[in-house]
């Protein structure tokens, strides 16, 4: 049974996508299939999570080819946690999309593309083979291309061009890095690479390959100075789509970065960690400064997303178990909060009938629940206790002080303060101040009452946001279980011998 559970994050979305294609002419049926499929996906991943939690790392060889010759799927604490979050966000977005997407977008294939995206993300998390990871990246990327241009508005085409170009370059670089690594070592299995790479005689060559991997994954993860595609495109598609992008796509890049640099390239760590630390500091500062300068609410959030990637990177770059645990905790928090923020921003923009901070306003009076939910998640992002953003920041600052990295701690605190400022700015401009007269006049009467959303739509979109907000409160109030989880995942990453043994069998021990 475990064998099947390991393929669950891939097989089930593909099955659901195929079923959605069968019902191509019936978007209403696609909704049901998509929702049920995602729920079953979540149930299977929870079962896998339980398995990994009780009996440790599990792996399976596709087609029963012995490792390292076949394709391996591995579930350790990190990958199964990420897969569980994928299912959670998938479920939330599937519900949100019912109220958010118009009929046109749904009937042009949102559901199959969305499930394809989940399959790609799940495969990238579960695979234990670097070339297979490239393939899942591509599955994810092609589905995201379809999603970002779905609807075909002018802004979407413009944002889509930049998104597609930069992603294509990143995957070409990743493919080159994989080819060079294969040429140098003769293997593609991550566990086997973990054995071969440390004993490889040509250190210079491997450092160059590591740098190429770093470049490709950093581009995917939107790390300074390779993040420009993200704020250029993430605010253009429908809110449901940007919510799932913001939650998952950059995190896959971060996951690949963590996986490859904790398992394979462990020798040249000093150099890579120094790069990650500097890139992380600059990313989080530039991201939050960019957020303060923006007008469109979802562009503000896009820059905050970039800033959050910086936080994760400094945790990885510190190179200690505590730092890594903080980074993983922050990743979990960031996935939940970012998708909730993008969702609530989408609702706010639709209710007010305007995208920009200057044109928004008065939402607190007209739609107090939307305002309260936004305030809640925004404060969580800013790291206000007792919400979930507070603990990872405490851990990261503690970890950087423990390694005498005072600059890192200072940068993290300054970024936290600036994030609070940027969120407070959105709150006061979009929700607190009255909506400018000319916008109300231009929109005509009634726009302030319900906007273009029906009451049912509003309820449907607010439900997943409320659930995600509740989760951020709960993991803020009861931080210990998630901290234990992060510490265990970090420990598995640093002492990766059980991973290698699980994949290669006895000879790896």
């Amino acid at each position: 049974m475990t064998v099947w559970l390991l393929f669950w994050p891939v097989l089930l979305p593909i099955l659901t996508a195929s079923l959605c294609l069968v019902f191509w002419t019936r978007p209403d049926l696609q909704r049901v299939v998509s929702l049920v499929g995602t729920a079953v996906l979540a149930a299977g991943i929870l079962a896998l999570f339980r398995e990994v939690w009780t009996s440790g790392i599990v792996s399976v060889q596709a087609g029963d080819w012995p490792a390292p010759f076949g394709i391996t799927f591995v579930a350790d604490t990190l990958s199964v946690t990420m897969a569980a979050l994928t299912a959670l966000i998938g479920l939330g977005v599937a519900v949100y999309a019912m109220g958010d997407l118009g009929h046109a977008r749904e009937s042009h294939g949102f559901h199959p593309l969305f499930q394809g995206l989940l399959a790609g993300v799940g495969g990238a998390f579960m695979t234990g083979d670097i070339f297979n990871m490239y393939v899942w990246f591509e599955v994810m990327v092609i589905a995201s291309f379809g999603l970002i241009t779905l609807g075909g508005e002018r802004e979407q085409i413009d944002g889509g061009v930049k998104y597609v170009l930069l992603n294509l370059i990143a995957t070409a670089l990743m493919l080159m890095a994989i080819g060079l690594l294969y040429g140098a070592t003769g293997t593609l299995n991550l566990a086997d690479l973990a054995q071969v790479v440390p004993d490889h005689p040509d250190r210079g060559l491997l450092t160059a390959i590591a740098a190429l991997f770093l470049l490709a994954f950093a581009m995917k993860a939107a790390v300074f100075p390779l993040y420009f595609w993200l704020p250029a495109s993430y605010h253009t598609p429908a809110a449901a789509i940007s919510a799932v992008f913001a939650a998952l796509l950059t995190k896959v890049g971060v996951y690949a970065l963590i996986r490859v640099f904790s398992l394979v390239f462990t020798e040249s760590q000093e150099f890579i960690y120094a790069v990650l630390l500097v890139a992380g500091i600059v990313t989080m500062l530039v991201g939050v400064l960019g957020a303060i300068a923006q007008d469109d609410v979802r562009r503000v959030l896009s820059f905050n997303l970039v800033s959050g990637i910086g936080f994760i990177l400094i945790g990885v770059g510190l190179g200690t178990a505590l730092g890594l645990a903080g980074a993983l905790y922050y990743t979990v928090h960031h996935i939940i909060v970012m998708s909730a923020l993008f969702m609530v921003a989408g609702v706010a923009q639709r209710l007010a009938g305007a995208p920009g901070l200057n044109d928004l306003g008065g939402l607190y009076l007209k739609h107090p629940w939307v305002a309260v939910l936004f305030f809640f998640v925004a404060m969580s992002l800013a790291g206000v206790p007792p919400l979930s953003g507070f603990w990872p920041k405490v851990i990261l600052v503690k970890a950087s002080l423990a390694t005498d990295a005072y600059v890192v701690a200072a940068a993290a605190l300054v970024t936290g303060l600036l994030t609070l400022y940027s969120m407070a700015k959105v709150w006061s401009l979009a929700f607190w101040k009255p909506q400018p007269e000319h916008v109300v006049a231009a929109a005509g009467p009634g726009i302030m009452e319900t906007g273009e959303m029906s009451r049912g739509d509003t309820r449907m979109t607010l439900l997943p946001i409320a659930v995600l907000a509740l989760i951020t409160l709960l993991i803020g109030l009861f931080a210990q279980p998630l901290l234990t989880l992060s510490e265990r995942a970090a420990d598995e990453l640093i002492n990766h011998q059980p991973y290698v043994t699980s994949v290669l069998g006895g000879e790896g021990a």
Partner: protein, 143 residues
């Protein structure tokens, strides 16, 4: 043989980078096509080149005799070619659509999703390729 192929990969990547740095969307697409082909050739070269030794195991034997060509890179390249082909096809359609909506192939002039920053002089199209301007909606027309 490998060194010749390696130099060829280098030349291809150089051409691709040159083309991708252009402002013209069509040139960028051509650059991407060359870049993905360079990556394929790189994988092929990484697998080492063996002449006149097909990877076929004779009957009644489990292991091939002597040195044979490495079949794995070709499987990898086949995967990469299929993926690269479909991605490029999508990108080309998107480029056409971008030209149809924005009436330009100059990526610097595509400032719909991101408004021009203060003081930016948005070019009016790639090297005079501009056809008619949709004056009502392009951002610089407002000035």
């Amino acid at each position: 043989m490998e060194s010749i192929l390696a130099i060829a990969v280098g030349i291809l990547v150089a051409c691709a980078v040159f083309l991708i740095l252009a402002r013209d969307l069509i040139r960028i697409m051509l650059g991407l096509a060359i870049l993905s082909n360079a990556a394929n050739l790189l994988i092929f070269t990484s697998g080492r080149v063996t002449r006149d030794a097909p990877p076929i195991v004779p009957e009644n034997v489990k292991v091939p005799e002597g040195v044979i060509a490495n079949p794995l890179p070709q499987a990898l390249i086949l995967t990469a070619i299929v993926i690269g082909f479909s991605l490029l096809a999508f990108a080309l359609v998107l480029s056409y659509r971008a030209f149809a909506t924005m009436r330009t192939v100059d990526v610097d002039a595509m400032r719909l999703a991101e408004p021009p920053y203060p003081g930016q002089n948005v070019p009016s199209g790639a090297a005079g390729r501009q056809v008619e301007r949709d004056t009502a909606r392009l951002p610089e027309a407002a000035e």
